[in-house]
Each structure stands twice: as C-alpha cells, then as structure tokens.
C-alpha cells in the first residue's frame, strides 16, 4: 500500500513538473527573454527570501525536535567513564551548535541583505590579515581546549584495568556472542583457535591449560555494580565490535589480536528499570562492525547485579567441561591431579 502511494506521489510530481516546465519555457518565449541583465529578476529576490525562511523553519524544527524527544535520543548512562564522555559530548555539542547558528545567520541572511540591486556595487574587500588571524586563533584555542579535555578522559579510559576487577571474555562469531568466566580460580584459561569444533566453540585448550576446567560459559553476561569490569575481547572468524550502548563501551573484536576494554557499571538492571520506568529494560550487547548477513542480529543481554547477587550467581554456574565430559580426557592426568579434579 505504501509503495502504491509512493508511486502515485512520484507520478503526480512528474506530471506537475512537466506542466510547470512547459509554462516556464512558454513564458520565457513569450517575454523574449535574453540572457543577461534581465535574468536578475524577481526569482533573485525569491531565492534570497527562501534562505531567510529556511533559517527559521530549519532551526525551528531542530530546536523543537531536540527539546521534545530527549527521552528518545538520550540513552541513560550507566558507567563511570560514560558520565564524563557524555559531559564532554554535550559541552562540545553546545559549542558547535552555537557555531552552527552563528554561521547560518550570516550565511542565510546575507542573501537577503545583499541580493543584487542594479544601482549598487559590491564592496571591494579582498583581504584583511587581522581578521584572518582572529578567526584562525579563536577556533584554534577552542579546539585546543576540547583536545585537552578529551585527552584527560581518553587517557583515563585507556589506562590498564585496576587489579581488583572482574574479567569476562567476550568472543564474537558469525552471528552471536559467547562469553566465558574464569570459574572458581577466577582465571580464564588459554584458548587455541585450532581446538575449536562444533561443541568447544570457544576453542578452550584443555590439553595445555587446566585453568579451563572450571571456566563457565553463560548465555547472559552478568557483571557486578560498582566493580571494574575488564572485557577481554576476541573474534574467531571475522571482525566484530563489542558495543554496550548504555555503558558507552565499544571495542573491535579482531581475529588474531585480542583487545580489551574496562569500565565500571554504576546502575544495576533493576535500578535502570526503575529509572526508565520500563519493566522489561535490559542492557544489551550489539555488534558494530559489519560481519556478514546476520550482523544486525548479534544480541546478548547484559545483567548488572548488586555485588552480592553477582557472587551468588557466579557460584551457581556449572563449569563447561562438566557438561562436556569428553573434553576432560584431553587434559593430562597429572595436570588434573594437580588441580584436584
């Protein structure tokens, strides 16, 4: 139905266009218009006026939409560094919006003020070094300020993760995420892409690393509120990118080159449900690097718990190998013994 309407609109526009064009060419012929001075006629004023009009309509719509839909486009923030980047974002936004409006006042009203008049001459003003200097220095200072503020935040975000932290391994694959926790010992075991098969989809290397034996791979990510969380990110086939919109976290997952990102969640899922008034609210993990036909479907739910709930959940998890006992055989017996399995 919508398509039919669209086609109808196109047809109507086409016919309308043909009619208008015919009228225009006919009036041109009727007036025997020549190219040159006469060309600068009423349409020059109309065009000038339209710029002025567009200024009010454009910025009116901009202001109206920006004010009325804040709850839609502003994502609630739930991480420590996110508060800081958001602050810088809106600070920068205020500066550039001001610049945008100022430039457009000149750009859209000059046409109106200085539209062609037969008896006027343009003002001869080829250069002024002082003005050039001013508008080189002012943007330079403003940008320097933004760079410095950005540097401080960027530097803090990219510092090595604190020792006291929760580690989660996130692996991207076509087309889903898989996560792994260190289990009882808290250490995530080594992996090898050659060990991957249909069942051991993360390629846990039981032969060489007994730390794998207590690792568990839940279907949702659980992280504790208020504790630094280090995501150890990898990909097993093509590039993916870990995107946690509410935590302002993004880092590519690269085959052959493990990456990482650490952050501190500040609101539990429960608190967020209250804040947004949405009982079904969930934090989500999305992919932001094109990875194939299912790129848009790589979703995983992230749950932020109170620290004690997190501990409880963590303790309840069953190690992966216990559900896939065949892989236990790969481990050298002495290693198994040494680890009390």
């Amino acid at each position: 139905m919508i398509i039919l309407i669209a086609i109808a609109i196109v047809l109507v526009l086409g016919i309308l266009f043909g009619v208008i064009y015919r009228i225009l060419t006919l009036t041109d012929i009727a007036q025997k218009r020549q190219v040159g001075e006469q060309d600068i006629d009423i349409s020059n004023n109309v065009n000038a006026l339209l710029f002025g009009l567009l200024f009010f309509i454009g910025f009116g719509a901009f202001g109206w939409y920006s004010i009325t839909t804040t709850d839609m486009y502003i994502l609630p923030v739930a991480s420590e560094h996110g508060v800081r980047t958001d602050g810088l974002f809106w600070f920068t936004m205020a500066i550039i919006t001001t610049a945008l409006v100022l430039v457009h006042i000149v750009l859209f009203f000059s046409p109106l003020m200085f539209r062609y008049q037969k008896n006027r001459r343009a003002h001869w003003f080829p250069h002024d070094n002082k003005m050039e200097l001013i508008w080189t220095i002012i943007p330079a200072i403003v940008l320097a300020g933004l760079v410095v503020r950005g540097w401080f935040i960027w530097d803090d975000i990219t510092q090595p993760a604190p020792k006291e932290r929760v580690e989660v391994e996130v692996m991207g694959r076509q087309f889903s995420w898989q996560v792994r926790y260190g289990g009882k010992d808290g250490e995530i075991g080594r992996y090898d892409f050659r060990k991957i098969d249909a069942i051991n989809s993360m390629g846990m290397d039981f032969k060489n690393d007994p730390k794998n034996l207590d690792d568990f791979t839940p279907r949702e990510i659980h992280i504790p509120k208020g504790k630094p969380v280090l995501l150890k990110i990898r990909a097993r086939d093509v590039l993916h990118s870990v995107f946690l919109p509410h935590f302002r976290v993004k880092m590519d997952a690269v085959p052959g080159m493990p990456t990482s990102f650490w952050f501190t969640p500040t609101k539990t899922t429960k608190e967020m449900r209250q804040e947004t008034g949405n009982e079904k609210f969930n934090y989500e993990l999305a992919c932001t690097e094109i990875c194939g036909s299912g790129h848009f479907a790589m979703r995983m739910i992230v749950v932020v718990d109170e620290p004690e709930d997190y501990k409880k959940w963590y303790a309840e998890q069953t190690p992966w190998v216990e559900m896939n006992a065949d892989y236990m055989k790969e481990t050298y017996p002495d290693l198994r013994l040494a680890n009390n399995y």
């Binding site: 064009y21 610049a99 343009a122 080829p126 086939d237 093509v238």
Partner: protein
C-alpha cells in the same frame, strides 16, 4: 590531432598559427576520434561527467532501495522482483545479504565513481587547460587512457552487479577477514574479486589523470599566469591531484595484499581464524594492517572529493557575489594545510580497533587541527558574501548550499575526531550523518554548482535556471531532511549497516523518524531527475549561450562559444591580473577579466598596480 600535444609544450604564442592549423584539421576527424577516443580534454571531461551521472543514478537508486527496507520494514517489495529476482525473498523482503551488497555498492560507487571520477575527472579535465590558458593537457593520450581505464573499471564494477553470488558486500571499506573469505559471505567470492580488479583499474586511471593535471598546471600556464594569479579552482585541482598521486598507490598496495591473501594463500591480514567448520592455516597476519593502509588513502580521499568542490565554490561565489574572494592567500594556505594534514589524520577512523591508545591521542590532536583551516575557509566564504551584490544563479545557490552543508557536517567532525567521544559514536548513524553532509552532500553540491556554472562553456547553451532553482531547493531541503535526523538516531546509538534494529530493545524506537528519512530520501533522489532532464534537454534545446554569461574574469570565457580542440582561435591570451577583480573601486564595469592589462585600467589601479602597468611592456615582450 596526433601532433597537437607535442606542440603544446612549446611557446604557444609563436606556434599558434601552426596549432590553429592542426586544430582545423581535427574537425575532420571521424566519430571515433572526436567523441570516443578523443584526446580533447573537453570531450574527456564530458565523458567523465556523463559516466558520473550514470553512476550517480545507480548509486542514488540503490540508496532508495535500502532506505525502503529501513524506513518501511513491513512493506511488500515483491514488485521489485522482476528487477532483483531472488534477492527479494519469497516473503517480499530484501535479502539480508543483498541489503549489505547495496550498502557496499552505494558507498563504492558514490565515493569513487561519482565524487572522485565524476567530480575531479570532469572539472580538472575541463577547467585546468581552459583556466590556465593551455590548448590541452600535457599528454592528451594519457588523458584518454585515464578515461578508458576508468571506463574499464566501471564495466567490471557494473558487471559485478549481475553475477550469481552478488556484488561485493563487505562495505566500501572492505575490511578483511570478511572481504578475504568467501566462506564469510557470498559477496566475498567472485563479487569481491571483481571489486578489487575494478579498484585496481580505477587507481591506474586516477594516477594517469593526476600526473597529467599536475604536469599541466606546472608547465603549461600561459604567459603571465603565475601561481599567484591562478583561480582557486586550479589550486584546488592541483592539490587534489597531488593528494591522489600520493595516496592512491597505498590503496593499490592494500588491495594487492588482499588479492594475495584471497588467492595465493598468504597471511598479510589473516590470523587465527575458524570459519565454515575448519580452522584456517593462516597465522601472524593483522586485519589492522589493512585498516591502516586503507585509511591512509581513505582519509585523503575525503579531501580528494571535497577540495575540488571547495575550489569550484570559491570561483562561483566570487563571481556571483560580484566581489573578490576574501583572503585569496589564506584560501590557498588553508588548502595547503588541509592537503598536508589530510595525510596524518587517518587513524581517527580506528580509535576503537584495538590500536595503541597513545596513537589515538596523537591522531585526535592532529585531527582537530584540521578543523582550523576548514574554519578559515568558511569564514572567508562568509566574508565574500558579506556586502556583495549577490546574483542567485543555480550554481550560486548550490555553492551557498555547499557552505552550509560543509559547516553542519564539519562541526560534528569535532565530536567524532575526539577519541573519548568516538567510543560511543563510532559506526553509528552519527557518523553516517556526519560524512554524508560534509563529504557526500557538500562535494555533490560542488559538482552540481560546477555543472550549472560551466554548462554554457561545455555545450554552448544555457541550462534552464528555473528548473535549477526547483532542483536546488528540493535537494537542499531534502538532504537536510535525510541526514539531519540521523544525528538523533546516532546519538541514540543505532549502529550502521543494520538490516533492521527490531532485535534490540535499545534500538526499537524511531520507526517514525526512519520512515521520515526514507521518504525524504526518495523525494531527494527523485528531484535529481529534474536535473537529469534539464541537463540532457538543455544540451540540445537550451537557449544559445552568450560568450561570458556570468561576467566572469577567468580565461575560459575568452574562448569562442563553441570551441574546438585547441581552445583559442589564434594566440592564447596573456594574463595580467588575478582572477578576482570584481567591483573594483573606480572600475567602469563590475568585473575586469584577467586578460585586461593594468595599463588599460588606470582608473582602478592601486599604486603598486600602476607600477606594474609601467613594466608590462617590457615584461610581457620578453
């Protein structure tokens, strides 16, 4: 005709009669040498322009198809089945991978085939010889080769649209491993091979053209045309060609290594991969290497498409403001600055790829520096308009539109160039909004401004300006209606290259806004057909153009209305002054062409120019 380019490098004045003679002969050339395998820079420019329009229609239509999916996800697209066959599923939906193929092809076509070849190819070819006072390019033959390599690239790329596994679909940046492994998606099979072949041919074309542009500007300027008297268009084309010459070879190397990885079992970009049920043997490669190589071209590429547009705008705004461009030297310096900086900002595309964060800090600093020369250019445009006597030709409207788009798209670059802010916004619709405004739409507007402005010179007829007005206002408002709302979508975190967002609670909003964007896109693309009609109709039936319709100062308007190969009948004019003597204090008319000596304009000369007038006799006789 074959001898003409060897004559060109000699002193043109003395040999003009001989050249004129061969130029007469050229008219007797047959259809093939005159229109197809022509050496004439003007014909080659038109070939580029018409190819560009062809590609723009295809690339634009593709965006309509995928906008249908994004704006009207429930629509039944079965009516497209005759065109797309099995790419439309039984349920009347766009195939998921075909969606990505459309996005990929839209990007590739628009960036390379429309905005690089169609814009730079058209106007560098057309304007360089005409505005510097040369009879043709330094090498007409290489120039012809350049077009035909581009044509070959076009044929290969066009053919790839029709193969069974579909065209390349790993996005226009073609990051490996996705683009390297046919197992990863079907578009990475033959489609990707053809994409790489086409790009290699395209790069050859660009290099052949670029060498020619540089050589011509350096060597073939007419008497008196010093670099300080060059129109800003030529400065822009000159710097663009230099950027292209330095950066495109790097893309070729990136593409070559990718070809090796795909076909010869090397591991430049591949490591530790398990796909399609098997672990590949590749180890030690780095996908990040490709990204560095790609963006070493990819970022300068932004300026390769933008600088010519800015050059055209400078010329059009000065002419139609009847006022000299403000800060001619500052304009050149800022273009030089942009050209230099464009090479050392590439990694701002890679802040979140796992690159060393310290590198991120460096590139963030360099990136934000580039905003300074861009700001200078903007303020100079504004000051040029201020207290002018503005004539709104369609070209002028598109130039003013360009400045607006350049500013609104450029400002968000200050946000994206900031590594700390890029974390959240990287690969969201905020980026899509940003680069479509600043690079896509702004360059496109520059191209349209150029076509409207030089149409009389190209075809000897006027293009209908009323239709031009309609075209401009629909396009200008349409572009903003399409891309401005995308900022909101981006701030809300919507990722790019998503077939649909409904899988996520977080992104399950803005359906109405996406519908609005899609409707606006359809209208905007439709409005381009007004231009296409106007363009082809006016070539044949437009009003006859006068010699200098815009009362412009530059050299091309001193040529005959219907100019043949060789451009000027008789000697090439000598240049005495810069191209921006509009509304000069004391002058009779509001413009003084570059060919008017200072000795003929004592009423408007400054003291220094009176000095120059005295030297003219001795200086120009040498």
């Amino acid at each position: 005709m074959e001898t003409i380019d060897t004559n060109l490098s000699k002193t043109q004045e003395t040999e003009s009669s001989e050249i004129h003679h061969s130029h007469e002969e050229e008219h007797h050339g047959n259809f093939w040498t005159k229109y197809i395998f022509s050496y004439d820079h003007k014909t080659i420019a038109k070939q580029y322009l018409i190819s560009g329009i062809f590609w723009a229609i295809i690339g634009g239509s593709m965006s309509v198809i995928f906008r249908l999916q994004l704006g009207f996800p429930d629509a039944d697209l079965t009516f497209l089945k005759p065109l797309f066959g099995r790419w439309i599923t039984e349920a009347g939906k766009l195939d998921q991978e075909f969606y990505l193929a459309l996005v990929t092809m839209h990007g590739t076509i628009m960036v390379f085939f429309v905005l690089t070849a169609g814009l730079s190819g058209t106007f560098s070819n057309f304007l360089i010889p005409l505005q510097i006072g040369a009879r043709d390019m330094a090498s007409g033959f290489m120039n012809m080769l350049s077009y035909w390599f581009f044509f070959a690239a076009s044929v290969v790329m066009f053919a790839s649209l029709f193969i069974e596994t579909g065209p390349a679909s790993g996005s226009w940046v073609a990051y490996p491993p996705l683009s390297a492994l046919p197992q990863a998606m079907s578009g990475s099979g033959l489609g990707m091979t053809l994409w790489l072949v086409s790009m290699a041919l395209f790069i050859v074309s660009t290099l052949l053209g670029g060498i020619n542009y540089i050589t011509t500007v350096v060597n073939l300027r007419t008497k008196g045309m010093s670099f300080s008297k060059l129109p800003l268009t030529i400065w822009a084309f000159f710097l663009t060609a230099i950027i292209g010459l330095l950066s495109f070879p790097v893309l070729l190397s990136a593409a070559l290594l990718l070809i090796f990885d795909r076909s010869f079992g090397t591991s430049f970009y591949l490591s530790d991969i398990y796909i399609g049920g098997e672990a590949l043997m590749n180890t030690g490669g780095s996908p990040i290497l490709y990204q560095h190589l790609f963006w070493f071209l990819g970022h300068p590429e932004v300026y390769i498409v933008l600088l010519p547009a800015l050059g055209i705008t400078s010329e059009v705004i000065a002419t139609n403001s009847r006022k000299p461009i403000f800060g001619y030297t500052a304009m050149i310096l800022s273009m030089l600055g942009i050209a230099f900086l464009s090479f050392i900002v590439w990694a701002h595309h890679m802040f979140v790829t796992g690159m060393n964060p310290f590198l991120g800090s460096v590139f963030m600093f360099l990136t934000l520096i580039i905003a300074v020369p861009s700001a200078v250019k903007t303020f100079n445009y504004l000051t040029t308009l201020w207290r002018g006597n503005l004539v709104f030709t369609p070209a002028m409207l598109f130039s003013i539109g360009l400045v607006s788009l350049f500013v609104s798209g450029g400002l968000t670059g200050i946000i994206l160039g900031n590594a700390a802010l890029d974390i959240q916004l990287h690969d969201t619709y905020f980026v899509v909004a940003h680069f479509h405004l600043v690079m896509g739409a702004a360059s496109f507007f520059g191209m349209l401004a150029g076509v409207y402005h030089w149409f009389p010179k190209m075809f000897g007829r006027m293009i209908n300006e009323k239709l031009g007005y309609v075209h401009f206002w629909m396009t200008f408002v349409g572009i903003y209606a399409v891309f401005f709302p995308m900022h909101y979508v981006g701030i809300a975190g919507f990722p790019r290259r998503y077939y649909t967002w409904t899988n996520f609670d977080t992104f399950n909003i803005f359906t109405d806004l996406n519908m609005f964007i899609s409707a606006a896109a359809i209208i905007t693309v439709s409005a381009q057909f007004i231009f296409v009609f106007n363009f082809f109709y006016s070539i044949f039936f437009g009003r006859k153009a006068p010699k200098n319709p815009w009362k412009s100062n530059t050299l091309e308007w001193t040529t005959p209305i219907n100019l043949g190969h060789g451009n000027w009948v008789g000697p090439i004019p000598t240049v005495y002054r810069w191209p921006y003597d509009y509304s000069k204090t004391g002058a009779k008319e509001d413009f003084i062409p570059q060919t008017v000596p200072y000795s003929e304009t004592p009423e408007s000369n400054t003291k220094r120019e009176n000095e120059l007038a005295k030297q003219e006799d001795t200086f120009y006789k040498k």
